[in-house]
């Protein structure tokens, strides 16, 4: 039974690992911290897994646990200076269809999102993942109206950062 549960869990996480990686990259500044956070999220997901009833999609259920871990549970380890060693690679996948200015814009936007505070970042992340405001409000624990208002403010803030 336990083996089956483990297998089932690992399989699902393996398939959906990109969600966790995206959160890790937004909330950490280097590969070591990324791996640490991934590890912690995996443990928290596994601990909560027996209560996962399957009424929601596994990936939807993951958002909460992963974001909670990144925002609240994860303790940043003091490992010397926090470098930004993977900033440059985060959006580097070359795409012939896009010219350099658009690539540059994407990169700048990504960096601006990363610099937001932990809570704002979570909102933007869910927005980028194309979650509805209802889902965002439920995940964050705020009202739908407040989620909308806040998201508009963050958009405005980002716009100002990028177009001073």
């Amino acid at each position: 039974m336990n083996k089956e549960l483990e297998h089932n869990f690992v399989k699902q996480l393996e398939e959906n690992q990109n969600v966790v990686h995206k959160i890790c990259r937004l909330y950490t500044r280097n590969q070591d911290a990324h791996n640490d956070l991934f590890q912690e999220i995996t443990i928290q997901l596994w601990k909560a897994f027996p209560k996962f009833r399957g009424e929601a999609k596994f990936s939807t259920w993951m958002y909460r646990v992963a974001l909670n871990t990144a925002i609240t549970l994860y303790r940043k380890k003091k490992r010397g200076i926090q470098t930004q060693d993977y900033e440059s690679i985060s959006f580097k996948i070359a795409s012939v269809a896009y010219d350099d200015t658009i690539e540059e814009q994407l990169k700048l936007m990504y960096v601006a999102v990363k610099d937001l505070n932990d809570i704002d970042k979570a909102l933007v992340f869910l927005y980028l993942e194309d979650k509805s405001y209802r889902e965002i409000s439920e995940t964050m624990g705020i009202s739908e109206v407040n989620a909308r208002v806040k998201m508009n403010r963050i958009k405005e803030k980002l716009r100002k950062i990028l177009n001073p």
């Binding site: 909460r64 814009q105 936007m109 980002l158």
Partner: protein
């Protein structure tokens, strides 16, 4: 196009270059230990509760004997019974609050529950410090109003006192020492708590404030 919308469009269209972890690599992670804030808060809280309970058993026999001779033994028994009832109440409350913490809660609920659990422990500590201060003051007032008897009792137990000190000298030294020790102890506790809370909860509180701001 707006840059955020551009990012949103690309967010799903292309995969970012993440490492791909294999089944075995993820499986191995299950065996590792968590180092989450909740775990540390739980450990620290247990240490605190154990420390304060333990402190109650550290009262030296000589001190108990002196209190008995001063006629305070019944008061101490009553005080201790109330004290332990309050302890039990706090432990049950702490356990219930801790049990309520769920990683699958919303971000806000999770933070609230963690802060609530910590608050229980904080009140437990306040209660202990408060009870220690009040009982120290009460005992000292009692001692002061019965200082002749205290001098007598201590002279019997510690010969040096009776032979080397007058009652006035004794009063100054005895009560002076009580005040100094009391202040040092409280300062020490305050310092430890400043460190513990500062390190553990700063980020959590900061994030909670940010979240609360959305509702104003």
């Amino acid at each position: 196009m707006d840059q955020l919308e551009l990012l949103k469009k690309e967010w799903k269209n292309r995969e970012q270059d993440f490492p791909v972890l294999s089944f075995d690599e993820i499986y191995k992670m299950l065996l590792k230990k968590s180092s989450s804030v909740i775990k540390w808060i739980f450990i620290i809280s247990i240490i605190e509760i154990a420390f304060w309970i333990g402190l109650n058993f550290l009262i030296p026999e000589s001190s108990k004997q002196i209190n008995a001779e001063m006629g305070l033994d019944l008061s101490f028994i009553v005080f201790n019974i109330i004290h332990y009832c309050i302890f039990a109440f706090f432990i049950i409350l702490f356990y219930k609050n801790y049990q309520a913490i769920q990683i699958t809660d919303s971000v806000k609920d999770l933070m609230q529950k963690i802060l609530k659990t910590r608050r229980t422990v904080r009140y437990f500590v306040y209660y202990n410090v408060g009870a220690a201060i009040v009982s120290m003051i009460a005992v000292n007032i009692y001692y002061y109003t019965h200082k002749e008897k205290l001098f007598e009792v201590l002279s019997v137990n510690f010969e040096d006192i009776g032979t080397n000190l007058t009652i006035d000298q004794f009063t100054t030294v005895f009560f002076g020492a009580q005040v100094v020790v009391g202040i040092l102890l409280i300062g020490f506790i305050a310092f430890i708590y400043y460190l513990v809370y500062g390190l553990m909860l700063r980020r959590l509180k900061h994030n909670y404030v940010e979240l609360k701001k959305m509702e104003d």
